[in-house]
C-alpha cells in the first residue's frame, strides 16, 4: 500500500478548513484511507540518523497517508484534496478536456521501428501555461516518483519524462540506438557521457542503479531526440539536462515510454489530470500526436471518460456516486444509471467497482447487517479430522506437540539425515533469500530434531511429536507435487528408548484399530536406512503396505543436529488410514 506524505497545513488550506487529528483520521477511514503517521521532517531525520543530524530540519507537520494500491489518483496532494472535497460535497468533480493548440499543429512524437525490440510504446501530452510554485513543483516531481514505484512497477512497465517545452523543438523522435552511439549531458551532470559510460556511472548511484537492469543487456537503448538532435531522455534511466523543468517552466512536455500501453495511458492521464488545474485554463490538457512506425497516428492523452451502465434504479445511488467523482444520471427508463468514469479513476473497470464507491459514499458502517439464509451442513475434511483425533491421543500418551516450518534447507532433509538429496523427492525453491528456504520439507524429523536442539536445557526425557504435511514431487498431480500427511515422534534421553517409540507405534495402531500380525494387521521388520543406527531400524507394515519407519538414530545424525544423547524416532504416513 503506497504512502503519501503531505504537509498538514497545506492540506487543510486546500481543504478550506482544519481538522483535529482524530477528525481527519475518521474522514480517512470513511474514504478508505489510513492516516498512518503524524510526523515532521525533523522527526524522521532524528529517528533515522540521530538528533544532531536533525538540527535545523523542518518541523512542519506531515501527514503520512496510506492509499489503496489501485488509487493512483490519490498519490499527490492535488488528487487527495480533489477526492476528499468532492466526497464532502464541497466541489463538483472536474471534467477534464483535451484541447488542440490554439495557433499551431500539435506536438508530435515519432516512434521508429528500432524501439520494438526494447520498449515499444510511447505516449505524450503538453501542459500549457502552467504556473508552478515551490510546493506544486515538489508535488509534481514527487508524483512521478510515486507512479514510477507503483503502477510503473519500478519503471519496468512505464517511465515518465517531463521537459521544459520552450527549451526544445518538435517533432520529437523516439528511437533506439546502440549504447555507444548515444551521447548527451544527463540531468544534473556537468558533462556529456555516452550511454555506456552512464551505465557504469550510475552503478553506484543509490537511486538509479535499481533501474539499470531494465535495459542493461539490450543491444539498443531507447532514446528520445528533438528535431535538433538534443536528447530529451534515455528511458527508463535518465532525462537530459538540457530540457529539465524548473519553477519558471511555463509549458511542460510529458512523455511516457512503456512496455505496457494500457499502463502508459493511465500514467499519462494521471500526470496531466493531477496538474492541469494549475494551467491558465484549468482542467484542460493540450494534445500531442504519436506517430507509429507503420504511419498510424494517435492523439494523447486519452482522457475520454468511460461510460458504464448500472442496472440499478434509485436516484439516491446516482447522488452517492457523484460524491465519488463519478458523474451519474438516472436514465430515461428510470431503471438504469449511466455513470461517467473520469480518466483519474483507472481503477474502475466493472460495475462492481462503481457499486463499491456507492457503498463507500453511503458509509459501509451505515449498511444494515443481515444474516445470510444460506443453509448448509458442515463437514470436516476426513484427513484433518483424523489428524485432530490423533493429536489429542498422542498428547495423552505423554508426547508434546511441536510446530515446525514447512520450508528448510537442503542440508536439513538430506546431509544431516545422511541421505542423498536425489532420493528425497524434494521440491526446490528458485528464489530463496536464505538457505532456510531452499526446499519444502520431505520429512518432519529434521524439524523435531532442531526443536530438541533448541531445548537441550529442558529436563530429560524429551518426547515430541508433530502431525503435519511434507511435500513430495508427484508427476501425477497438475502441479507436479503433492502434500503428504505424516506423523513423526522422537524420544530423546540418556538411553535410546527404542521400546518407548515402539510402544508409541503400538498405541497408534491400537487407536487406528489395527491389530498386530501379518496380512490385515501390522508388523515391523528390520530395514536398512542411512538415517538410523545399523541394525536398529525397522520398517512398519500395516495391511500389507509399508507405512513408515522407526528406530534409533545414527550417531552421526545426532552429531549433525548438535545433539548429545541417543534418540529414537517414528515416522509414518497417516494417509493410509483414511
Amino acid at each position: 500500500m503506497p504512502t503519501v506524505s503531505v504537509k498538514r497545513d497545506l492540506l487543510f488550506h486546500a481543504l478550506g478548513r482544519t481538522y483535529t487529528d482524530e477528525e481527519f483520521d475518521e474522514l480517512c477511514f470513511e474514504f478508505g484511507l489510513e492516516l498512518d503517521e503524524i510526523t515532521s521532517e525533523k522527526d524522521i531525520i532524528s529517528r533515522e540518523q540521530g538528533d544532531t543530524k536533525a538540527e535545523g530540519a523542518s518541523d512542519v507537520i506531515l501527514y503520512k497517508i496510506d492509499v489503496p494500491a489501485n488509487r493512483y489518483d490519490l498519490l499527490c496532494l492535488e488528487g487527495l484534496v480533489r477526492g476528499l472535497q468532492v466526497f464532502k460535497q464541497k466541489m463538483e468533480a472536474p471534467r477534464y478536456r483535451r484541447v488542440s493548440p490554439a495557433s499551431s499543429e500539435p506536438q508530435r512524437l515519432v516512434i521508429t521501428e528500432e524501439t520494438t525490440a526494447v520498449r515499444p510504446h510511447a505516449v505524450a501530452a503538453v501542459l500549457r501555461n502552467i504556473t508552478f510554485t515551490q510546493e506544486r513543483y515538489d508535488s509534481f516531481i514527487e508524483l512521478q516518483e510515486k507512479l514510477h514505484q507503483n503502477v510503473c512497477r519500478k519503471r519496468t512497465l512505464v517511465a515518465i519524462g517531463t521537459h521544459d517545452l520552450d527549451t526544445i523543438s518538435g517533432p520529437f523522435t523516439y528511437t533506439a540506438k546502440p549504447p555507444g552511439d548515444i551521447r548527451f549531458k544527463p540531468l544534473n551532470q556537468a558533462k556529456e557521457y555516452t550511454a555506456q559510460e552512464l551505465m557504469s556511472l550510475y552503478k553506484t548511484d543509490s537511486h538509479l542503479r535499481h533501474y539499470l537492469h531494465i535495459i542493461e543487456d539490450e543491444a539498443v537503448y531507447p532514446v528520445i531526440y528533438d528535431s535538433n538532435g538534443i536528447v530529451l531522455s534515455m528511458p527508463p534511466i535518465i532525462n537530459g539536462d538540457h530540457s529539465k523543468i524548473s519553477l519558471n517552466t511555463k509549458n511542460v512536455f510529458i512523455e511516457c515510454t512503456a512496455t505496457d500501453l494500457t499502463k502508459a495511458k493511465i500514467v499519462l492521464d494521471m500526470m496531466v489530470t493531477m496538474f492541469c488545474e494549475y494551467c491558465e485554463e484549468p482542467f484542460t490538457v493540450e494534445e500531442a500526436e504519436v506517430v507509429y512506425p507503420d504511419g498510424r497516428t494517435c492523439q494523447y492523452p486519452v482522457l475520454y471518460p468511460l461510460t458504464i451502465t448500472l442496472h440499478e434504479s434509485t436516484e439516491h445511488i446516482a447522488q452517492l456516486l457523484t460524491k465519488m467523482c463519478l458523474r451519474s444520471e438516472v436514465m430515461s427508463d428510470g431503471e438504469q444509471i449511466e455513470v461517467e468514469i473520469p480518466p483519474t479513476r483507472s481503477d474502475v473497470i466493472h460495475a462492481c467497482d462503481i457499486m463499491e464507491d456507492a457503498a463507500m459514499a453511503y458509509g459501509f458502517n451505515n449498511i444494515p447487517r443481515t444474516t445470510p439464509r444460506t443453509y448448509t451442513i458442515a463437514n470436516q475434511l476426513p484427513l484433518n479430522k483424523l489428524s485432530e483425533l490423533l493429536r489429542q491421543d498422542l498428547a495423552a500418551a505423554g508426547f508434546t506437540e511441536a510446530l515446525t516450518f514447512a520450508l528448510c534447507s537442503q542440508e536439513d532433509i538430506a546431509d544431516k539425515l545422511l541421505k542423498n538429496i536425489s532420493e528425497t523427492r524434494a521440491c526446490r525453491i528458485s528464489n530463496p533469500k536464505t538457505a532456510e528456504f531452499q526446499v519444502a520439507r520431505t520429512t518432519l524429523l529434521s524439524g523435531l530434531l532442531k526443536t530438541v536442539a533448541a531445548n537441550r536445557k529442558m529436563p530429560l526425557p524429551l518426547r515430541l511429536f508433530e502431525i503435519s504435511d511434507v511435500v513430495l514431487k508427484d508427476e501425477s498431480k497438475d502441479v507436479g507435487a503433492r502434500n503428504n500427511r505424516r506423523l513423526c515422534a522422537v524420544y530423546y534421553n540418556k538411553s535410546p528408548g527404542f521400546e518407548v517409540i515402539h510402544g508409541l507405534m503400538d498405541r497408534v495402531m491400537q487407536l487406528l484399530e489395527i491389530k498386530p500380525g501379518q496380512g490385515n494387521g501390522y508388523h515391523i521388520q528390520a530395514a536398512d536406512d542411512s538415517t538410523f543406527f545399523p541394525g536398529r531400524c525397522a520398517e512398519i507394515f500395516a495391511c500389507g503396505k509399508s507405512i513408515g519407519r522407526l528406530g534409533v538414530l545414527h550417531p552421526d545424525v545426532i552429531n549433525r543436529f548438535e545433539l548429545t544423547m541417543p534418540c529414537s524416532a517414528l515416522d509414518i504416513d497417516i494417509e493410509h488410514f483414511l
Binding site: 463507500m360 495423552a396 531445548n455 529442558m458 497438475d478
Partner: protein
C-alpha cells in the same frame, strides 16, 4: 521430621512448664531459668509445632542489655581502676611497673580521677604510685553484675548508656517465642505418621494414629505429561467455530500451487507486485504446472487481456508461461478458487459455506511479527444474492464467537474482491481500533469465467491464525510461538484455549 530422642527431655520439660503457667512463657526466660542455650529451646518449640497444634508459639522480639567481652571481664575481676588499687602494695609501686599491667593504663587514669591513688613524681628511683584509700566501692562492677543477673532494669537509663559508651554493655535485640498451649495440648509426645498406608487401611490402625500435617503452601509435583501446541489449540477452536456455523472444510493440503490458481483465476494481473520474486516463493523443481481446464483457462486469459463479463479487463498481453509457474501458495484463496470452479461445474448450483485454516508462504522480509510461512484462516459463502450487509452480518457472528463484539469496516483494495473491507475491532487494552481481518465479495471477473451462474455472489474473509494467538497468549515475537526455536516450557505452560473468554 520426628523429634530425635535426645531432645525428648527438653521437650517434656518445656511442655511441663507450659502446663503449669496460666498465660504463656517466653522462650528466652525458659532458657535462662533452665540454664540452656536459647537455640535449644527454639529447636524444641519448632519440633513441638511440627507435631500439630500441641503448642502455639508466636514470634516476638525484645530489646535486652548484655555485657560485652570487656564487661564480662570486669564483672568477674573488678573494674580496671579497682584492680589497680588492689594491686598496689602499702609501700607503693613504680609507675612504669603499673603501666606494664594489662589494665594499667585505663585503670590508672580512672583511679586518679576517683582520687583512689596518688603519684609521687619526685620519688627516688622514678615516679611512684601510692594508695590513698583502704577500701573502695567498685560501682562499675556492681552495675555490671546486676545486668549479668538479668536485673538491668534496676539501673537507670543514664547509667546504662554510660556503660554502653565505655563499651562494657551493648543493647541487643532478642527474638523469642511466646509459648502458649495449643488446642491439642498434651504433655505426652506421640510419633506422627507421614502418610496413610495400605496396611493402616487394612488394619484400621489409622484411627489411633496422628498424621503429620501437610504443607499446603508448597507446589504439587510437576506432572510428566504431553501437551498440545498453543497455536494448534487455537486452530482447533477456530475449526470448531466454523463447524458450529455450518462451514465445510476445504482440502488445503497442497502447499505447491500454480500461479494460475493462486493469481490468474482470482483476476490478479500478471504484473501485480504480489507476483514478484520479492514477495512469492517460486519453484525451480517442479517449475511448471502442466494441466489446466483448457476452456476455463481461455476465459481467464480473455477476461484479463480483453475484458468481458461486463468488465474492461486489464488490457495486457496475458501469458500462459506466467500462469504455469509453480509457487508456494501465497494464500489459501487459491484453494477457494479451485473449490468454486468445481462448484461451477456441478449440473445445478447449490449454495456452499467453506472454510480452511492452513499454511501460506510469503518471500517477505522477516521481522518480529512476520515469518516466511504462517496460517491463514479463511471463510467463504457462495449463494444467490448475498449482499455486503450479509458479509458484515456473518463477520459479526464469527467475531462474536471470538469474544469480539465491536466491529467496524474500512473500505480497502484487494485485486480479487470488490467491495473490499478491512475489519477493525476495538481493542479494550490498547484503547484503539485494530485491524483483525480482511474481507470482500469476489469480483465477477473471477466468478463468471468459472461458470458460476449470474446472480451468485461469493463473500469471503480471512485473517491470520498467529496474530490472534499472539494477542491471546501475550507473545510479542512470533519466533517464540512458531518454529523449532520455541521454548518447550512455553508449550508445557500454555493454558487451554477459550477464545470467547
Amino acid at each position: 521430621c520426628i523429634p530425635v530422642l535426645s531432645t525428648y527431655p527438653i521437650l517434656k520439660t518445656l511442655l511441663q512448664r507450659v502446663e503449669k503457667v496460666d498465660g504463656g512463657l517466653d522462650s528466652q526466660d525458659v532458657a535462662t531459668s533452665l540454664g540452656v542455650d536459647h537455640q535449644a529451646i527454639v529447636g524444641a518449640v519448632k519440633s513441638l509445632q511440627a507435631l500439630g497444634d500441641v503448642i502455639s508459639a508466636e514470634q516476638r522480639s525484645s530489646k535486652h542489655w548484655e555485657l560485652t567481652g570487656e564487661g564480662c571481664e570486669i564483672a568477674e575481676q573488678g573494674s580496671h581502676e579497682a584492680r589497680v588499687v588492689s594491686s598496689i602494695p602499702e609501700e607503693g609501686m613504680p609507675q612504669s611497673q603499673l603501666m606494664k599491667l594489662a589494665f594499667g593504663k585505663v585503670g590508672f587514669s580512672k583511679a586518679m580521677s576517683n582520687k583512689w591513688i596518688r603519684l609521687d613524681k619526685g620519688h627516688e628511683g622514678g615516679p611512684r604510685i601510692f594508695k590513698t584509700v583502704e577500701r573502695l566501692e567498685d560501682l562499675v562492677r556492681d552495675k555490671l553484675l546486676l545486668v549479668q543477673k538479668g536485673q538491668a532494669s534496676q539501673l537507670e537509663e543514664k547509667e546504662k548508656n554510660e556503660l554502653k559508651k565505655r563499651k562494657l554493655l551493648s543493647e541487643v535485640t532478642v527474638k523469642s517465642y511466646w509459648i502458649t498451649k495449643g488446642s491439642c495440648f498434651s504433655t505426652t509426645i506421640t510419633k506422627q505418621e507421614t502418610e496413610l498406608t495400605p496396611e493402616m487401611i487394612a488394619s484400621g490402625s489409622w484411627k489411633e494414629k496422628k498424621f503429620k500435617p501437610y504443607n499446603f503452601e508448597a507446589m504439587g509435583v510437576a506432572l510428566d505429561c504431553g501437551h498440545l501446541h498453543p497455536l494448534m489449540k487455537v486452530r482447533t477452536q477456530f475449526r470448531q467455530i466454523f463447524l458450529e456455523m455450518g462451514f465445510t472444510e476445504m482440502p488445503t493440503n497442497n502447499f505447491i500451487e500454480s500461479s494460475f490458481w493462486n493469481f490468474d483465476s482470482l483476476f490478479q494481473p500478471q504484473q501485480h507486485p504480489a507476483r514478484d520474486q520479492h514477495d512469492t516463493f517460486f519453484l525451480s523443481d517442479p517449475a511448471q504446472a502442466h494441466e489446466f481446464p483448457q476452456d476455463y483457462l481461455e476465459r481467464v486469459r480473455k477476461v484479463h487481456s480483453e475484458g468481458g463479463f461486463g468488465s474492461q479487463g486489464y488490457k495486457y498481453d496475458w501469458k500462459i508461461e506466467e500462469a504455469q509457474k509453480n509457487i508456494l501458495r501465497t494464500h489459501t484463496t487459491a484453494v477457494s478458487a479451485r473449490m468454486l470452479y468445481k462448484l461451477a461445474q456441478q449440473e445445478k448450483f447449490t449454495p456452499v459455506k467453506y472454510f480452511s485454516i492452513d499454511r501460506v508462504f510469503r518471500n517477505e522480509t522477516l521481522d518480529a511479527t512476520h515469518l516466511a510461512e504462517f496460517h491463514q484462516i479463511e471463510g467463504v459463502v457462495a449463494d444467490f444474492g448475498l449482499t455486503l450487509g450479509d458479509l458484515m452480518g456473518i463477520l459479526h457472528q464469527f467475531f462474536n464467537k471470538l469474544g469480539i463484539t465491536k466491529l467496524r469496516f474500512k473500505p480497502a483494495y484487494n485485486p480479487y474482491t470488490e467491495p473490499s473491507m478491512e475489519v477493525f475491532s476495538y481493542h479494550e487494552g490498547l484503547k484503539k481500533w485494530v485491524e483483525v481481518g480482511n474481507s470482500g465479495m469476489f469480483r465477477p471477473e473471477m466468478l463468471l469465467p468459472m461458470g458460476l451462474p449470474e446472480g451468485v455472489t461469493v463473500i469471503a474473509w480471512g485473517l491470520s491464525l498467529e496474530r490472534p494467538t499472539m494477542i491471546k497468549y501475550g507473545i510479542n515475537n512470533i519466533r517464540e510461538l512458531v518454529g523449532h526455536k520455541v521454548n518447550l516450557q512455553m508449550v508445557y505452560d500454555s493454558p487451554v484455549c477459550r477464545l470467547d473468554s
